[in-house]
Symmetry: D5
Subunit: 150 residues, 10 copies
């Protein structure tokens, strides 16, 4: 029987191997020709890679077969429990939602009617925008509108 490792453990091993080798997430994304946020999320355990892509990453980072296999498995997504994390870099996104979430809801309904922005037919981009007063992080969430369609 194959030795087992779950996707979150695999994600930690990838993350550490990447750090030790000095490889960037962006270069890993380029190597498999996928968007960078998607690739990073996938390697951290939130998406399944195709077999080819998993072996390609395994080769670059010299990962074991168990890690390569784990990358291809269908994920249980998210953190597992409905709790808000403490890391400040991540928390700021939650805080922004806590403050602006109801406003976004009102404006989605005003513009589109009753429904939601899909988090499945959905993508995220992140970029740096230079600014003389200090560069800015710009994150774009882009999801299909789904109307309540009984």
């Amino acid at each position: 029987m194959v030795a087992m490792i779950d996707k979150l453990e695999a994600g930690q091993i990838v993350s550490r191997a990447r750090f030790v080798k000095g490889t960037t997430w962006r270069s890993l994304a380029d190597a498999i020709d996928k968007p960078v946020v998607w690739t990073t999320a996938a390697l951290l355990g939130q998406h399944a890679l195709t077999s080819d892509d998993a072996w390609r990453i395994g080769e670059i980072l010299e990962l074991g077969d168990d890690v390569v296999e784990a990358m291809q498995v269908q994920p249980y997504r998210g953190s597992g429990t409905q709790q808000i994390p403490t890391d400040p870099t991540i928390y700021r996104f939650y805080e922004a939602l806590d403050v602006y979430g109801p406003a976004l809801k009102e404006l989605i309904h005003e513009e589109f009617g009753d429904g939601i922005m899909s988090a499945i037919n959905f993508n995220v981009e992140i970029e740096r925008r230079e600014d003389p007063k200090g560069d800015r992080v710009v994150v774009t969430l882009d999801g299909k509108f789904l109307d309540y369609n009984w």
Copy 2:
């Protein structure tokens, strides 16, 4: 002494008055010449309006003086407790963060070094992008990068 009403109650009254009159959030934002996400958040109780802006909104929606006053008060921001809401339109944003939050963290650090995207020196925009396969909700989070600067 003036009768008291808190900012969340004021937000509900504004929201209902707007519905009854058939006024849009966007037209309220135009009336006080502020961005629409900011204005909606402010009217729901997450920012303080200037006295002039509060009276202008009060006039348009025919609100009582207590509501107008509450709009000018400094807010206690957020929902009050660290809990994730159930409304599907709002929840999808939390789900997206739960899935992509750690990837965004990795990429902020890769691009900017150790630090965060500010949620204070920060703004949000929402727009509709037409798409033949179904229109899309596009939300842009734009915050200044702050580095850990001891």
Copy 3:
């Protein structure tokens, strides 16, 4: 200004008025020509009714204008917090999900690939199936498959 009442309070008033008059949910659904689960959920505060439908229900149940207005307002859906209710009739559904949820996930992925059953482009039906060993409640959840489509 109009007196305010929220959708959950309106739902309780509808529910009680219906009880007092001996009207069924099914007859209310028929009166506005909508599916019965949708109508019941809407009247309990989980969907917005059109103005015509709201006035039609108001007439049948002799409801106040504030209740009729509240029925038309866009809902904040769900119970508000991510907690599991205690009522046995409702709890059994949660228990079934707790036991069979991971199996449903596996089988959705096996049949459709990576994605979800939409809870927005979605409907529910409930019917009674006669059975000599005791009649059965049959609930059908029917949602569009959405694939992870970056």
Copy 4:
């Protein structure tokens, strides 16, 4: 003494072995002639298999004796704590219940009187329904009605 492994660990091993061998849940269900949702749930640790069925599965997936034994043990069902999971494929079912649960309760009482849909004398089916606007996941919950019978 026999080495010990619990049913959830056994479920993870089955799940991985199945992935590695490219076997479907459906073919495993066929091999033991049981419904597919029941079989998947059982192999994930929510039902006990008979000794024959456990050995049959063990043979197909080349599992160790400890896994085969664990499959036959009486389960502690559910996730262990009353918490709502984050995986989007599973979460959508919880969201649907949070929105439609009270309506289902009302309609069960309207049709059957005071009581519940059993989650024990109960089964679940899942099927794909083709639809030109996108195929649909159809899940049927079918449980005996039990009345409050003091």
Copy 5:
């Protein structure tokens, strides 16, 4: 429109009226010819009374029409959230379950096979057993066995 009162409020009013008049729960149960635990639970809001029984109790305790009506309404059972109460008289039952629950589970399975004791087709009795070392509270839980019957 009738003034509204919910079943828990009605339960508190009944409880206080009973205290003021010096009436026992047992005599109320006798008045409507129902078991005493059932009656007490019903009057506290956990079961619906028939119209006749509700009016009979209303007469004895001189309750308002709103209370009498609330007694007849279908309940949302339980405390609403999955939390353990602090009152020592109630807590001891939870403590006993926390200590002996897994043992009861094992013995139900040993004696009956896989299944549960129904909490719906179920009744409870309480009695005093005299004992020279101090009288004892004897509570009997009696529920139909339901087997997992797919």
Copy 6:
């Protein structure tokens, strides 16, 4: 130094050994001449066995010395946190308490005055009662009344 194992681990080993050998809890209880609920609870880690009884059980189930030792240790009782478990066989008892707990409290006070049913000077019995409409699980909780005695 002795190898260590805690009482809950010991309980799982006992439970598995019993399953593998096909021994019943009842026969284990008979072997040490103790009530069956007490014995089952004790072997699952909720009571301490005497040295003689522990060795007797160890002999029957061919357990290691570390397990036999753990059985004699004073327990930390309960599940450790004030949370309600999900296993349906156990949950039904909690649900019954949630629904009937306040009624039991009222009736204890009506019959005995202010005080509690002890969960320490306390025992539990479980038996099967045959019934043509389906056999019943009968659980009897029997505890000394303790009055608030300052």
Copy 7:
């Protein structure tokens, strides 16, 4: 029908009336000839007073009849949920238990065998002990030992 007030509200009214009149808890305890901790707890809603004692307190503090009545009602004890309070004067007791609770458990078992200190057949005293390095609060918890007596 009598106006209703619950025991916690009654406790707040007593507390405030006492403050306004400048009466001490100790003098109230003396007036009804009961221990001071018991009396204070009772007046805050944790014990029932006899009718005579309730009227005596009502007379001293010039309380309404509804408050006097509420004092005589059987309490739901404790704070209602298993949460630790924040007030520093109360929190220190919880902290002491968190640190020394397991040690007290070990020593109770060493001295008395398996069992508990009753919190029902139980009393508490508080006194001031003068000390040149700063006076001390001395709290004595005194409860009957109850052994696990099946």
Copy 8:
């Protein structure tokens, strides 16, 4: 580098070694000439022992060097999270506080003014008081009064 073991693990090893050897906590306290509650708490991981005392205990119980070292380390005190434990012997203390905590607060303020009983400049004693109606556990909490001293 030394093998590591934390203070709670060390506490479990001490506790088991003590059980196996039949040594009492009291005799361990005598061996290092410290109060018995302090010593038991310290050995369970809530205080640091001096090097001499740790080696003395290590000798008596024949503990490994890693355990002896862990005993000398500064503790993280308490259980780690603000949760109430389920063990009945410990829970009764929490219940007593839940019921009498507010009364103790009132009486501390009445006697000493605004402030707290320190849980740092603080000690606990436990003793057995013989009583013909059943012996009693007497626990004395003795802490310096600290006034709010800005």
Copy 9:
């Protein structure tokens, strides 16, 4: 009897009256000659004012007698439950503690030995420090060291 209002409600009334009159917290502190953080905390309900100070504040802000009385009452301090607030201005302090708390603990023990910084014999100051790169908030926590003194 005086109408009742609790300290938190009184705090909200003070806060609003101050806003309406355009009075600063600092001027209120000066009026009663107390430190500004202490005064603000007291007026928000966390300390008791002397009768003179309460009447002085009442005069300045034209408050009702019930508010003035509530200011003099002994507080239940803190927010009531052990939960972390969402307001960003307050949350940043909690985040800083979550990140630096264990380091502060280590350094207190390194410098002072085993013990704590008192939060009772304790004060807080806040000041603005000008800085060309952006002014800074400087908060100083100053508490007496208390050693574990058994």
Copy 10:
């Protein structure tokens, strides 16, 4: 592939090695010429060290390469969940915030306008201030003011 260890484990190993060698945090800070609170927090896992600094610490404390590597990795900051710790030395800081947090918020807004004290562009110092009545712990939090700047 390198053996993996996470930053919190690394922090525990550092902490223990430091204890065993009798090295102070202050001397470690001096060795890498960084502020002492920053260094202690970093070594406990809350900041990343440069490669040089990590190797310098590794040399002093004779740490393994895996520990040295872990020190350089970007942290997930904080304790991971939004829970308040129980250790008294740390808890006192949380208590102080619970009592004085809203006052600090009011005064930040009064002095600086709407915004926050940054916890990123932020530092902490701790010092001992001698005092004849008992030495004091003085902690200074110093963060840049950030205004809400849309």
